[in-house]
Symmetry: C2
Subunit: 334 residues, 2 copies
Amino acid sequence: MKKFINKVDNILVESLSGFAKAHHDLVELHLDPNFLTRTNKAQNKVAIISGGGSGHEPLHAGYIGYGMLDAACPGHVFTSPTPDQMLMAAEAVHADKGILFIVKNYAGDVMNFEMAAEMLPFEHATVLTSDDCAVVNSTYTTGRRGVAGTVIVEKCVGSLAETGADLQACKALGDKVNHRTASIGVALTSCTVPAAGRATFDISDTEIEMGVGIHGEPGRRRETMRPADEIIGDCVEAILMDFKTRQLQPSKKHEALLLVNGFGATPLMELYLIYNTAAKLFNLHNLEISRSLVGNYTTALDMAGASITLCLLDDEIKQHWDSPVHTAALRWGK
Amino acid sequence: MKKFINKVDNILVESLSGFAKAHHDLVELHLDPNFLTRTNKAQNKVAIISGGGSGHEPLHAGYIGYGMLDAACPGHVFTSPTPDQMLMAAEAVHADKGILFIVKNYAGDVMNFEMAAEMLPFEHATVLTSDDCAVVNSTYTTGRRGVAGTVIVEKCVGSLAETGADLQACKALGDKVNHRTASIGVALTSCTVPAAGRATFDISDTEIEMGVGIHGEPGRRRETMRPADEIIGDCVEAILMDFKTRQLQPSKKHEALLLVNGFGATPLMELYLIYNTAAKLFNLHNLEISRSLVGNYTTALDMAGASITLCLLDDEIKQHWDSPVHTAALRWGK
């Protein structure tokens, strides 16, 4: 294992310290328990808090700021944060309109956010993201996994919260965006968790893992490496099939957001090639890609691979996707 | 070699097509010869054109837009673009105040941009970037190499050009920023050029290449892998020594911009850890880091590794760094 680290135990705090220093205008770091909040506390809004295991950067701390999150609770690498992190974060950002947790659907995250919620002295609600259509139930999950679509949920809910909308409206929008979103990922290599010091899974030079999770969990099947367009074709097919199963398939031309997400070690050049093919294929199925995001937004440490996420837009989602956002990893309109 | 590609010969056009589709509000793609221009042609300003071999994305096409480039000319992977690309790009973006080429100092790029410049029917000038302090002369270079500091040059010159400044002023600022900037990189792994199909260089699981170039060219020396802080310490030392040699060493507290750039396969978590240590070390040498950029801004395909760039700020550079920019890869203030 070759990584830019000093001691495995210190990675998280050293990295968070660098993040908070580089973005001191946006975020403030609190240690022990670890959480990050906006530098300038927002007032009179639902406070949006997310979190989860580290190693998926820029998720979630990179999305703290105007128009998105109020706080993020990072666990150790691929490890759920603990309830005291969420409680302290909630205490710090609560602004009289309640707390909304956005939680990716993994057993540990769900349990710890639930424990925190039960102890919260404020009005609260939770949006569980479960956009990964690759598998139902898996290593760490009952039900579908929450993956890159979480970024779209956080962006839209964060936008609505800035308008002063109430807790139930924020939760409803988050649930809607999650419902209208599907993702699937493919790994070309494993990731390496620093504390383990070796690859999470074995994969040969001619294999790919179709439907991989963002912790390197197994997907649908191990396949032989093929030309990109064939792999992308299967991913697009999986998403379309998921929409069909859930009766979301558009019968006429419908606008959609296409997110091509790198897992950490895939060059931008390849991500745009994937985007090019995926956009063409979705277009053949009545899906007009009117919003796009291409880059490393929900990573799996140093995994080579990518995921494709499609969100079926409506006027409300478009409005909240387009609205100003000012965070370390997403910024526009302000 | 596992990459998301179809045919090696088509990678560039497929990727550029995806890029242009995802960012159609910002860029327009022209094929054969290949170049990209702003979707909305700017008027009454010096037109800023950059280019170079592909594989360094988001450099340069990701920096087309308000406040930065007017056009970019991508060559094949790690291969210089040809003079007809620059000539056609210049023709497309010329706006009556002349053309400024920003060229990374590699023999092929320099020669081809010079050939284009000689044929240009417009007033023109060139800024050569040469921020890499690792080596003087190398595989493709006479003199120092142009690396990640090029982004800072493009940002500042692009900002000045938007004010209507003339060609000589733009060139002068570009030369100044380049002069006040130093970079050094370190590779943990090689990159793999698609057309070659194998790693550019061999490096073992316990070695790093200190001072590596962005095409995998040799740096200063092959070293044994060590804790991050030791590697970062040597990088910071190299930059300080370079400033000292060039009599740029600040004798009292001086503001600086710190860019920690990933080469393509290094997790953001590690880049922020590098930032944390580098910022601390520079602070010990009168350098106050008042501007920061951390991420993949000048990559080397799928290389694991990172570079550290320091730019000594003054009021003019700060003003042009802070000014609004709206490109695919850098966006703020607008």
